[in-house]
Symmetry: C2
Subunit: 200 residues, 2 copies
DNA sequence: ACAAAAATGTCAGCCACTGACACGTTGTGC
DNA sequence: GCACAACGTGTCAGTGGCTGACATTTTTGT
């Protein structure tokens, strides 16, 4: 009884969602993304296919929602970086939340990248997610630029995310052998080498 | 009769393909991408749905193949740039083939961007295409870098393509009002400002 | 002219996804 | 307590993209 907090109902909904995500994750790891049907996932979670689609709009979403929170996380970290940092450096540091999470549990990150690389739809979905991150980060990047003319902040943000992406893929190719931190460093350094002239 | 050249058959195949592309294009422009079924396209081209899929693997492909040739075009232009140019500048100049094509026929470019923005699948597909371009350009970029350590060339290429993409989207948002050339210039300048120190 | 190869249509079927409806559960106001 | 509304769920039917298999009709090489 009692709807104590704004969301007794909402909580169960979230519980079902994460249970679906878990079940789907296991199946994807075992037999691959494409080889797993929504019917299987739903059955494994004890519900009908129709109900699955009441929790996730598409099959991809069961995986892709894992990226959703990251955008806001990146944005909040970026906003908290000291104002003295230039945009590129600040972006590099905000990416550390991803790097550190990956270092904390490399196997999870590796599995996630592996799954999202299996299907064209998922690869594409990850890129779409990054577009969303870009939208979140661009205004914050603009604040750190001298003269934020229109395409500038978005370009800088997109370039940084592209570096992150390249580093991630290189890391995936190395099977997690390489240091993701180093790869991100190198990728971003290749695009914007340390500018001593600007620094002083 | 007579199989004069290595590919009379191949030519008719290409003819059918481009006819399908035209028919599909018209339908997409008229009623939108999602609202157009493959059956409609096939019928309008006078063939069965099954045959459509013998020419294009997916519905998206009817649009996306338009981007395929661009990758090789970019690569060949990039390879022909003077060896004295640094990678970023050379990339900027190779993008000019796109800029100039767009200036030559802005309406086509605009329609293409509009269509590919209608559907999530197409938006994603365009990004996937860029990944392919990236693979083609990366080795050429590596040649122009001082010390092409592993993630470097890919990162630089990806960053440049990200700039191109941002410029394209900004141009689309402006309905083709802005100068695409200027947008590309600004986007790429924002990421790698002219480095006078390196130049001399 | 004839046999191999290729293009096409039809049919059946899988899978992601959606709308509609009916039923049971769960809170809400009285 | 109880009726009522809201919500979650299953079932069913249907659409659209896409594929394998097979039979039929062109092409094409000799």
């Amino acid at each position: 009884m009692t709807t104590r907090k704004p969301g007794l109902r909402e909580r169960t909904r979230q519980a079902v969602r994460s249970q679906l995500m878990e079940v789907a994750w296991d199946l994807f790891v075992q037999q691959g993304y494409d080889a797993t049907t929504v019917d299987e996932i739903a059955a494994a979670a004890g519900m009908s296919q129709r109900s699955f689609f009441r929790y996730f709009a598409t099959k991809e979403d069961v995986v892709l929602v894992k990226f959703e929170a990251v955008g806001e996380l990146l944005a909040s970290v970026l906003a908290d970086r000291p104002a003295s940092e230039d945009a590129w450096t600040a972006l590099r540091h905000s990416f550390d939340v991803i790097v550190e999470a990956t270092e904390r549990d490399p196997r999870y990150g590796l599995a996630l990248l592996r799954i999202t690389d299996q299907s064209a739809a998922l690869r594409a979905g990850r890129l779409e997610q990054q577009l969303h991150w870009q939208e979140l980060l661009t205004p914050l990047v603009a604040e750190r630029m001298n003269q934020p003319a229109d395409p500038g902040p978005a370009a800088l943000t997109a370039a940084a995310l592209a570096c992150l992406n390249v580093a991630n893929i290189a890391w995936l190719v190395s099977d997690g052998t390489d240091s993701l931190r180093r790869l991100v460093d190198d990728a971003m350094a290749a695009v914007q080498p340390v500018r001593h002239d600007v620094a002083r």
